[in-house]
């Protein structure tokens, strides 16, 4: 209990007890209607010394770290980065971990990725390209370090987005390189799941690798990696939408027309967490022929895809409480506004939405594209 309270103090800057029990958090939460403990009730239970009740209910796992509650809390309490991970840490220490998550954590600890893939194969996606992507090990320095993160490196679908981004960089004649086999999980999900020691361990190992090489900045299309690198590693990092935006003048001259009605999904770790809203929109809008429509819930109010904070490994837990996953609601919203393409800014969104499209039967009508994939298509001519 002491450990939990210390962790809560540390992570919330001692503010967790300033909760005024207003209920804004639960009202904002995609799981608010299903969870036995909204953040408000969690804080109340902690105050009443009923932590075990929360943990036994599994409510601490019913959160995909979307930051909505945190961004709206009038007392500015760090719910997402504080209350929830602190409770999860206690859960981990007590050995109560949902099975899928447990497997992912074991794999990350052993292999530096959640997929139980060999670290030697981390550059496998690059080998699928018809040009060579140089590694830092060979090149020692480059202007841009492209970081695909685990999903971007191993996940079948996410790799497509990584390859698209690499192709765009090549077209732009950017001096870039990857870490390849030296790269490992940056650990944002690990942190949000309360496995703080593993997060620090990953950070330490990654920092050692980063320090070996010279680069101006990192570019990543994984919003969680972006968040970790920016706010925890303290590195110079651009989200790929920012990178594309920086190169927009050059890109505009090369764009071909595309015939799509596009909506853009604000990923939690770009938008609410890091305030990146306009760059991706401007990139999309500047592609000729593209009709841009907003989701009804957009920017600060965007609905979470459900992958964050380890959500990708919490599906079974979710299913126990929630009948309709947020991603399913989200793709239906896309349909409502008449989009035929959902453009995403975080690789994790892609499998979430593609799955949701299958579940909702909208897969014939709407496709999901990473912003780099859309840009590449415009460059290559539809």
């Amino acid at each position: 209990m002491d450990m939990l309270l210390n962790r809560l103090k540390e992570l919330t800057n001692n503010k967790y007890f300033q909760c005024i029990q207003c209920g804004t958090c639960g009202g904002s939460c995609p799981y608010g209607a299903y969870t036995p403990y909204t953040p408000r009730r969690m804080i109340l239970a902690i105050r009443l010394g009923m932590v075990e009740d929360i943990l036994n209910s599994n409510a601490q796992w019913l959160c995909t770290a979307c930051q909505t509650c945190t961004s709206r809390c009038p007392s500015r309490i760090q719910i997402t980065d504080g209350i929830i991970p602190a409770l999860r840490e206690k859960s981990l220490l007590e050995g109560k971990v949902p099975e899928e998550l447990s497997t992912a954590l074991i794999n990350i600890m052993r292999y530096g990725n959640p997929f139980k893939e060999s670290p030697m194969k981390r550059d496998g996606w690059a080998k699928e390209l018809d040009f060579e992507v140089p590694t830092m090990m060979k090149k020692k320095s480059a202007e841009v370090l492209l970081l695909p993160e685990c999903f971007g490196a191993y996940h079948r679908r996410c790799k497509q987005a990584t390859k698209a981004l690499a192709k765009v960089m090549k077209i732009l004649e950017v001096d870039f390189a990857i870490l390849g086999r030296e790269e490992r999980c940056t650990g944002d999900h690990v942190r949000l799941c309360g496995e703080f020691a593993l997060f620090e361990d990953l950070m330490e190992k990654n920092m050692k690798v980063f320090r070996k090489y010279e680069f101006k900045y990192i570019v990543t299309h994984d919003a969680h990696a972006f968040n970790a690198l920016k706010n925890f590693y303290g590195l110079n990092v651009l989200h790929h939408s920012q990178f594309l935006h920086d190169n927009l003048e050059k890109l505009k001259g090369m764009f071909n027309e595309l015939d799509y009605t596009v909506t853009y999904h604000d990923s939690c770790y770009l938008g609410r967490k890091n305030g990146i809203y306009e760059e991706p929109r401007e990139v999309i809008r500047s592609i000729p022929g593209v009709r841009f429509v907003e989701f009804k819930r957009n920017r600060e109010n965007a609905l979470c895809c459900g992958a964050g904070g380890g959500g990708i490994w919490l599906d079974s837990v979710m299913r126990e409480f929630v009948k309709v996953r947020p991603a399913e609601d989200r793709v239906r919203e896309a349909k409502e506004v008449g989009a035929d393409v959902i453009v995403t800014g975080c690789v994790l969104d892609i499998p979430m939405f593609e799955d949701a499209l299958k579940v909702t039967g909208l897969d014939g009508e709407i496709v999901v594209k990473d912003i780099a994939e859309l840009v590449l298509e415009a460059l290559e001519g539809g």
Binding site: R156, D355, K358, V359
Partner: protein, 289 residues
Amino acid sequence: MILVFGEEFERDVTYELVALAKRLGDYKVVVSEDFDDIDGDVIRVERLNWKVVKELHDRFKPEGVLFANAPSGMDLAPKLAGITGIPMVTNVIKLENGDRFKATSLTYGGKVLVDLEVDKPSIFVVNRGYYDPNEGRGTPKVERLDLDFEDDVELIEVVKPEEDVDISKAEVVVSVGRGIGDESNIELAKELAELLNGVVAGSRPIIDQGWLPKSRQVGRSGKTVTGKVYIALGISGATEHVEGVKAKNVIAVNTDRDAPIFRIAKVGVVADVNELLPVLIEKLREIKS
């Protein structure tokens, strides 16, 4: 002389052991259940436990002892090796007799073969699916032996999963593995099965996750499919799974060119099953209508 111990809970593999024993020399087959079509000398005992195994081993002094890589063989073989100290080889896929035995074992998760020379007498635990069970069938000469020893292990109850379709007898089985990725994709497999007049089954992870009932599990701890076609969708082909695949034609779909399942396949399709299935289903529908 070769002594074969039949498999108590999975009778069919006994025929495969007999098929192998026939090639090795004289043999006797010990069984604890009625078999009326095993070729050769059959010793019928009341039950098969390590004491019976030890007794018969001492009595016949065989040059080689065969067990199946199956629930009772895996218990009895090492016990006999431990007691007698004679050499024991597991995961045997090929065995020849000579001055010494020449055995080949499939190990390291199916990634490595090892050729061995083994002194006599010795014990072999043989994988399923490498010898033709039909070669083990014929006319038995049965001798009953009244061997009954108390064992330190006693079966008190058999728990059967509730039965629905019997996948082991279905002519066409469409089976899904972890490669299908998402539970919702099971529907695609069901659709394919329906179009081919088959049934749906799965690998253990699929059953473990509750995506299909236990009765649909293929493999060592599931059922053995023996029909005409087995279609493996996103199944890697682990030994324990493949042991249960005895269909005459295996068609496998897998993204990984090196997936072990291709080793037993007649037709292998390197593709993402979730991309392939919708298209395939569409085409089959067209043909049907």
